[in-house]
Point group: C2
Chain length 189, copies 2
């Protein structure tokens, strides 16, 4: 759990008391590969901090296929902000891609924590700022590059990551079919 404290400390100052307060409010949890943190139509109730492991956020599209819109790995928060905040049924699944460890911050507990440690409000603002900027960047890549370019760009940027996940998930995330990814890869040899 120290990973989470360390992460928060990179953004705001925490007293020893703050640390203890935070630790008393969050729950450690192990999650097995393929287990879900959230399913479609459920209302999301927590923010999840990934201590170790990998998760994917996806929805089932009109053709009945899984479309991955987000990956979360070590030291990232993951949740459905829309469902969490507006108390609406989620459109997304959040599922462990590998055996993982997380810290769970329940919605209600989060509000309490904010009143005890107002600095956390700032921490989450900064986290969201980064996430939003990354999301804009992602839209930029989708428009700017062909599928093949996106694949090479992504595998240069995260060479270890593409070893960790099945190819069909990468294809889905990058916005094309597994067949097309196969085609790209076979070209290279």
């Amino acid at each position: 759990m120290q990973r989470l404290i360390a992460h928060i400390s990179k953004f705001i100052e925490l007293t020893e008391e703050d640390r203890e307060t935070i630790l008393s409010c969050i729950q450690y949890q192990e999650v097995k590969k393929k287990d879900y943190l959230l399913r479609q139509d459920a209302i999301c109730n927590a923010n999840y901090f990934i201590l170790k492991g990998c998760f994917r956020q996806y929805y089932i599209n009109e053709k009945g296929l899984e479309q991955i819109i987000h990956f979360g790995i070590d030291n990232w928060w993951i949740t459905d902000y829309d469902s969490l905040e507006r108390r609406t049924p989620s459109e997304y699944y959040i599922q462990a891609v590998e055996n993982s460890e997380i810290a769970v911050l329940d919605k209600r507990v989060k509000e309490e924590l904010f009143s005890k440690i107002p600095g956390l409000e700032r921490y989450f603002r900064l986290i969201l700022q980064r996430a939003y900027a990354a999301s804009m960047q992602r839209i930029k890549y989708i428009y700017e590059f062909t599928g093949e370019e996106r694949y090479y760009h992504f595998s240069n940027l995260f060479p270890e990551f593409i070893q960790r996940i099945p190819q069909y998930m990468l294809a889905s995330y990058l916005g094309f079919t597994p067949e097309f990814l196969s085609k790209i890869r076979s070209k290279k040899i």
Copy 2:
């Protein structure tokens, strides 16, 4: 400027003193059509609240074409969070699409305001949460629908808005060429 105060009040409680503090910290500004709030390679220095009008955020892609990644209209904040926070040269232009009125919140002043009114930290967190959720939603639409479907979806959702902007801007935002938009529209008649 009361529009901004009203907007903030929808998210957090403000005392009369808070209102005055905020009003003393932000600057009213009129912006003419085609004027820029931000240019590529400049470092972004403020958050801009659109009191009235319309802005587009775009970049110049590898082919030298303008690619719009975002529109901002009445009652939305617009900025380049990445450049603003990390003090890096921006990749984006932010330009007025029509004569507009804005409230400017300078970066340094913003930090002062946060220390005077800590609740604003929460306000911006909530704003960002919405913006991030909308951005995820946008990625979902890009993957889920064809260009034609995106066009009809968008014009059903914002029928007045498509009257306000040139078609080539809409095409760029939706991720296809003006020629293709022409084709879609001619089909309909």
